[in-house]
Amino acid sequence: SQQGEEDPQALSIQEGENATMNCSYKTSINNLQWYRQNSGRGLVHLILIRSNEREKHSGRLRVTLDTSKKSSSLLITASRAADTASYFCATAAAAYNFNKFYFGSGTKLNVKP
């Protein structure tokens, strides 16, 4: 599989704290994306980082990418109860077909009010 593991599998924090989740992958990538899934719903795109970028911000989200370690992290700052959801990373290979996306197994985040 293109995709490795995400860790932690589950994370429980208090409102206001920061949440960090990690994603590893196996092959060279074109880009890496993070998605959010509320219980029972489809996934929603959060942020995309290209293979030549090292860090990207969007609101309270900060994504880093280390291509030498084949890993990425998603940081949610000042978390809110509404951030409770599962978070997934997705990658597309750098070669052959960069529109074929593989997902990790996800991190389930619980933010306690």
């Binding site: 599989s1 293109q2 995709q3 995400e6 074109n30 880009n31 994306q33 998605y35 029972g40 719903r41 489809g42 996934l43 929603v44 795109h45 995309l48 997934f88 997705a90 597309a92 077909n97 960069f98 529109n99 074929k100 996306f101 593989y102 997902f103 990790g104 197994s105 996800g106």
Partner: protein, 113 residues
């Protein structure tokens, strides 16, 4: 919200029966995908399409076939359903324009008894 409709949303069927899930989009996006989601496995790519009549296998394609006769419709068929195909199936679309963002449907929950 991206115009993606999955049908049926819920289906219960018996082992050995054929099942077809439909994904319909109104965005005129080139790429369409079928994923299945199971606890502990995240989302796994079944098949995807990069144009009318152009499809490719994903990581868990055995037991599934797809067809795309029109830009807006992508069908997933289980020729003879098995209990291991009990899952939530998600359709996704992408313009494939370099942003790579996937838009997801709300999912189809399939139970094979």
């Amino acid at each position: 919200d991206a115009g993606i409709t999955q049908s049926p949303r819920h289906k219960v069927t018996e082992t050995g029966t054929p099942v077809t899930l439909r994904c319909h989009q109104t965005e005129n996006h080139r790429y369409m995908y079928w994923y299945r989601q199971d606890p502990g496995h995240g989302l796994r790519l079944i098949h995807y399409s990069y144009g009318v009549k152009d499809t490719d296998k994903g990581e868990v394609s055995d037991g599934y076939s797809v067809s795309r006769s029109k830009t807006e419709d992508f069908l997933l068929t289980l020729e003879s359903a098995t209990s291991s195909q009990t899952s939530v199936y998600f359709c996704a679309i992408s313009a494939g324009d370099g942003t790579g963002e996937l838009f997801f449907g709300e999912g189809s929950r399939l139970t094979v008894l």
